[in-house]
Symmetry: C2
């Protein structure tokens, strides 16, 4: 099997956030997709090792913030390359509350979601979630995963489904 094919799949770049006992926490994911429009439902994939995964399991809720080409790379650095286990990520990343969920301010919009089902794999959970509220907040070009790699030259955190170990 030629794993390079997986680099040909297209994604956006998103912050997924939730509550950790009253403290906001979150991480960066690329695997978000709309499943149906009525009732609006999305699916996301998240690594079991992400602290955010545990918090979503506990709260049953999360928000997706759509990052843009203008989003400060420090947002991705803070949310994507540290763990919420030992870092208060949202001390460094500006956020606002939407439907009682923490949403990244430096984004072009958000969806707040309630988990309604899930499927397990060896490393990742696919959460199916109904969208409770959603809004566009800025007229900016959404960041694609390809843009992130080409322009920001970001590397995949090792918990991403698309992670390829460097030799």
């Amino acid at each position: 099997m030629d794993n390079k094919i997986f680099t040909k799949l297209s994604y956006g770049v998103y912050a997924v956030s939730t509550w950790d006992n009253g403290r906001p926490t979150g991480c960066i994911v690329n695997s978000v997709m709309q499943i149906t429009s009525s009732p609006a439902t999305i699916a996301i994939s998240m690594n079991h090792n992400n602290y955010t995964h545990k918090c979503i399991e506990e709260s049953g809720k999360f928000a997706v913030s759509v990052l843009t080409e203008k989003t400060d790379p420090a947002v991705i650095g803070t949310l994507g390359f540290f763990s919420g286990r030992d870092t208060d990520k949202f001390e460094k990343v500006a956020y606002e509350l939407k439907s009682y969920m923490p949403v990244v301010s430096d984004s072009c919009g958000y969806l707040t979601c309630k988990v309604i089902n899930k499927m397990e794999t060896t490393t990742h959970t696919v959460f199916l979630a109904e969208v409770e509220e959603a809004a566009v907040s800025a007229d900016a070009e959404p960041m694609t995963y390809a843009y992130y790699h080409k322009v920001i030259k970001g590397k995949s955190p090792k918990n991403a489904p698309t992670y390829i170990a460097e030799n």
Copy 2:
């Protein structure tokens, strides 16, 4: 809820194909994502009304062909805007067999997959599938859904999760 946020999610453009009692059939989807890398697993979303949905339910297998910016728009026209119920789509779309699955020739690579789990929504099924074989076949830029809308000015077939009715 502002549905415009759903246009800010980023996707690729793919042909999903399978067997219909010995005849290849398929359709166009944008919702494909990698879930884990070991064993390689992906998820796709498909409308219940797609004839391909029924055929995947019956065969338990499908292939994903990654379409590119150079893919002939007629491939999308034939696979995306007709139904396999009454059209032999692959009479007009060149394909080859990979691991006994029909794959669109005018693509930059493919994955052949075996369904291992699924989740239902009111309109769409999320199929979780293990990748059995995958290869890159051309060094071409994968088509994004944004490119499809901006450059090819394609419209969403009405079974797509991202379909927005025109008034």
